[in-house]
């Protein structure tokens, strides 16, 4: 589904965090939002996910404003994956991932169907964590927890996936693997995927489009090569860099010195 963000403005109390943010993501695209700490990436994802309501502007999915839908309907269309969860009460991986099926089951129906279990199992397998299903959330590594969170958003079967820092705690291999999975989902299942990510090289290599934001405003948007210029990075991150083209895959960004 096509996501259209139109003139979004968001405030935490009186602090303006998003200022006239406007962009489009087409069906089947994987788009990365990049920008320094505190730029407003998480806030933007939450505004699209209808967790936060923008003061101005709107988010349309295939021409329909998400705020005009019933919350349960919206939860079947967009899903948001947080960076981490605080596990309490001995909850297990299965407990958590099962909640992804709630928007798809009748609210008064107490237990999941066989089909729901199959979808959850499929999602866990896809991320290589089926063996963790019965483990407590507090007793797995941060990287494993991150894959659990991704399995949950996949099990929710949304059309638009909004993922906050999907690779933050992952090792070299899983970083690539997770990005491969996301790209595959976007291309094969025609899903729209928007991630907020700090790893610029990964973002450049796997995204169809990058959106660079700084202090709540879009500074640059477009193909990785046009966005990740030394000037743009210097302006937003305050770091002098060299951007080198790898002979085969994407870009290499060499930080030189902070300004």
């Amino acid at each position: 589904m096509k996501v259209k963000v139109l003139g979004v403005e968001f405030y935490y109390d009186s602090l303006k965090v998003l200022d006239n943010v406007e962009f489009e993501v087409n069906e089947g695209e994987l788009v990365s939002i990049i920008g320094p700490n505190g730029a407003g990436k998480t806030t933007l994802l939450k505004c699209i996910a209808r967790i936060l309501k923008p003061r101005k502007g709107a988010v349309y999915v295939d021409g329909v404003s998400l705020w005009s839908l019933k919350p349960r309907e919206a939860a079947r269309i967009v899903a948001y994956a947080e960076t981490s969860i605080v596990p309490e009460f001995q909850l297990t991986v299965l407990d958590y991932v099962l909640t992804a099926r709630y928007p798809h089951t009748n609210p008064v129906k107490l237990w999941e169907d066989y089909r729901d279990i199959e979808i959850v199992e499929q999602a866990l397998r896809e991320l290589g964590i089926a063996h963790l299903a019965n483990r407590k959330l507090g007793q797995i590594s941060s990287g494993e927890l991150q894959r659990v969170i991704l399995a949950r958003i996949i099990a929710q079967e949304p059309k638009v996936l909004l993922i906050d820092e999907p690779t933050a705690f992952l090792d070299l291999k899983y970083r690539l693997e997770v990005m491969e999975i996301l790209r595959k989902l976007s291309k094969e299942k025609n899903l729209t995927i928007i991630v907020a990510i700090h790893d610029l090289e990964l973002a450049a290599r796997y995204s169809d489009k990058l959106i660079l934001i700084h202090k709540g405003k879009i500074v640059a948007a477009g193909s990785p090569r046009t966005v990740l210029t030394p000037e743009n990075i210097e302006k937003t991150y305050g770091v002098k860099v060299d951007v080198i083209e790898h002979f085969k895959h994407g870009l290499i960004i060499v930080p030189l010195e902070p300004l």
Partner: protein, 344 residues
């Protein structure tokens, strides 16, 4: 293991725990019916049941056994109400240390009841309205605690300390008020404050059953939203639930359940803390399973606590308040949870 097998296993474990809980409950009830100041024992109880089933002629001790039954049923229903209230309070605050009594629901409920006795005693002529008054009191108490905790930064510890502040203030008030109204209620001051089943009547059973029925049904409908809320407000709202609405309904139900027990029995602490944890130890943290199992465990535990009360009371004058027993069991458990939580 395939996931569907794990899921099936969890469901089977749940049903097995429920059956085990019911067996424990029946045993607790039998023990409870067989103990008292008169010497009628288990055999007499079985005779009475045989008579009820139409198998035997009426034994002459039926009246005493019926009295004991009323008392035990009130204990059972109270425990179930408090167990469920504990699950609700812990889930919406995401705090394993939370509990209706510790968060000030009980003492505010008692304060409003005592205040009504003093100001408008006619309202309390009907037991239903007493329950409503206590319900309002409990809700005010919970709201105050949540507000105070918010002001103090909203950390898990701030919530517990806010609860202690609110319950201390209102137990002060309720002590004064209960002292003043003890002649009016013809009940000793201490018993009013600490809870007893010795004055239980048949209508109490009906009333508590209705309260439990309503509370349990709504809690089961809330179980899924509450599961979602355990992972955070944002998480619940991205699944299509409104966290504020879930919190509001859950606090109303927790206040209703706690208020009713305070109005009918008095203040009983720590059941709402211990019971949900016992349930989670057996079957894990899914509220769809924790709510019903907590009702059963809560019921059994209070019936047994009441047995202890009656055994100990036989060696003294008058009646030991049941809260004495639940505190002895519950407070060390609270200390254990506190250490575990604070050490991470």
């Amino acid at each position: 293991m395939k996931l569907s097998e794990l899921y099936q296993f969890r469901l089977r474990r749940f049903f097995a725990s429920i059956i085990l809980g019911v067996v424990l409950l029946v045993i607790a009830l039998m023990v409870s019916l067989s103990i008292g100041s008169t010497s009628y024992g288990l055999i007499d109880v079985l005779h009475a049941f045989a008579w009820k089933l139409g198998l035997e002629s009426k034994p002459d001790n039926v009246l005493i056994i019926e009295l004991r039954l009323t008392r035990s049923l009130v204990a059972l229903l109270t425990g179930a109400c408090l167990g469920i209230a504990g699950v609700l309070v812990q889930s919406i605050t995401r705090n394993p240390l939370a509990e209706p009594f510790l968060l000030g629901l009980s003492s505010t409920a008692l304060t409003t009841v005592a205040l009504t006795v003093l100001l408008a005693p006619s309202i309390l002529a009907i037991r239903y309205t007493t329950v409503l008054v206590a319900f309002m009191g409990a809700f005010i108490g919970f709201t105050l605690t949540l507000l105070l905790s918010e002001l103090a930064g909203g950390s898990p510890l701030a919530l517990i300390l806010a609860g202690i502040a609110v319950s201390s203030i209102f137990s002060g008030f309720s002590h004064v008020l209960a002292f003043l109204v003890q002649s009016e209620l013809r009940m000793p001051f201490l018993i009013l404050l600490l809870g007893t089943f010795s004055s239980s009547l048949k209508p109490d059973v009906t009333l508590l059953s209705i309260v439990l029925g309503i509370g349990f049904t709504i809690s089961m409908v809330l179980a899924k939203p509450l599961n979602a809320l355990l992972y955070g407000d944002d998480y619940a709202s991205q699944l299509g639930y409104n966290p504020r609405t879930i919190r509001r309904i859950s606090s109303l139900i927790a206040s209703f359940l706690t208020g009713a027990t305070v109005a009918i029995v008095g203040i009983i602490g720590f059941i709402g803390l211990v019971v949900p944890h016992l349930a989670r130890m057996l079957i894990g943290g899914d509220n769809r399973q924790v709510v019903p199992l907590s009702a059963i465990i809560g019921g059994s535990l209070l019936v047994l606590a009441d047995v202890a009360v009656r055994i100990i009371s036989a060696y003294g004058v008058g009646e030991l308040p049941v809260s004495a027993i639940t505190s002895i069991i519950g407070a060390p458990f609270f200390a254990y949870l506190l250490i575990r939580k604070m050490r991470g």
